[in-house]
Symmetry: C2
Subunit: 133 residues, 2 copies
């Protein structure tokens, strides 16, 4: 196998990769320290949303707060893949009539739509060159 190389991707390439992705990992500063959980995201253009329950501690903790959202696709066997990091501010909307394409996987009311407003998007591609390593 060739040599592994890490290549920074531009914003356009990052958006292209995360378009259509269903799962991202949301990180924020909880009162008792950093935390990170998977969420079912919808990416539409440069807008990222997910839905949650109004009673969840996540809702209260991330509303109007800085967050980071990570999306990746990694092949552990070949040790290749990509990861994208969106950093910005989350805002929770309690409008029951809000339309979002982020469909929750679980049953139960999830009337809150959280929108991540990106401040930056960066990404890295981990590939293998065709020269022997």
């Amino acid at each position: 196998m060739g040599k592994h190389v890490l290549v920074e991707m531009d914003a356009e390439e990052c958006w292209r990769l995360i378009e259509g992705t269903q799962v991202g990992r949301l990180a924020w500063n909880a009162p008792d320290g950093p935390t990170v959980l998977p969420v079912n995201i919808a990416v539409d253009g440069t807008s990222i949303t997910f839905r949650t329950a109004s009673t969840s501690s996540l809702t209260a903790q991330v509303d109007d707060s800085p967050v980071a959202l990570e999306v990746d696709a990694i092949d552990e066997g070949y040790r290749t893949g990509w990861s994208v990091l969106v950093r910005g501010t989350a805002s929770a909307s309690f409008d029951a009539g809000a339309v979002t394409s982020a469909e929750p996987w679980l049953e139960g009311a999830r009337p809150v739509t959280v929108t991540v407003r990106p401040r930056s998007i960066t990404g890295r591609f981990l590939g293998v060159t065709d020269q022997p390593g």
Copy 2:
């Protein structure tokens, strides 16, 4: 398909699931806000380590600081899977002789071993019941 259910897992089950996992997502509070990046982890019993370059900003930012590490295996098609969240404190060891089984995927010197000392480990299993939803 049946109904999707979310089940909390106990610590023993969480450790069993992340044993042998190669990739986790590390979240921490960077000076400019929350951030989260994939790292190549080694899980040995209840010890989690990864290696990094001494010059990386990650090294300086996470040393002796609170972190969260998320590991998951999610099937987007069936919408099933599990996620485990380890929260604790990271400490960077610059001992060039330190032995770790966390093998970096990239070439280049990575003399720093970062150990995550767990304060808590929690996890959720998302499955499908066999009753129609």
